[in-house]
Point group: C2
């Protein structure tokens, strides 16, 4: 059957891009947490240090620090030291695009 044939073509295509699709899921995983999303959205407005984020999200400094590590490992934020504090900001413009893309889906 023709349908059968095209399904197996798709199967091959998926198998070929298996690693990419795993990476794609991993990328979405980084966005898939309310705390991280709020951190990212906040960083679209201004760079911030850990203490500021902790304060305005009203969660412990440790929790923020752990989540920032996830975001940094995922390549979504970068950091620089400024005296005693460490200032976080979005890694690049793509992050903003990803958020906008999701928001657009929500608001249809």
């Amino acid at each position: 059957m023709d349908n059968k044939n095209s399904i197996s073509k798709i199967k091959e295509a998926i198998a070929r891009s298996n690693e990419v699709l795993d990476a794609l899921a991993d990328l979405y995983k980084v966005f898939a947490d309310a705390t991280r999303v709020k951190i990212l959205v906040a960083l679209t407005q201004s760079e911030m240090c850990v203490g500021d984020i902790s304060e305005f999200l009203e969660i412990t400094q440790s929790a923020v620090s752990h989540q920032l590590r996830v975001l940094k490992t995922g390549g979504l934020v970068k950091s620089r030291r400024d005296g005693k504090t460490i200032v976080y900001s979005l890694a690049d413009a793509h992050v903003r695009t990803m958020i906008d893309c999701g928001m657009q889906h929500l608001t249809e």
Copy 2:
């Protein structure tokens, strides 16, 4: 301080859109699994029944069914009955856009 002031402005903005940001994280959650991503990408090529998906992903029919429910609850796929089988397809064009957006981030 001016920085202090702008941080508290951002805090208010985040608090105001709290529910939206929770929903945004929930949306990303639906994409945040390799099995679901592969199902979605497959569906960008052609609508498919559960058995086809199960076969080409080489996972049990039950697992596929469970994941399709997550995708459907999340509003990413829709289904229609065709005789004995149930055919799944992408819910709308936004899904494709979300995937493209993620892919673009990966391939920079």
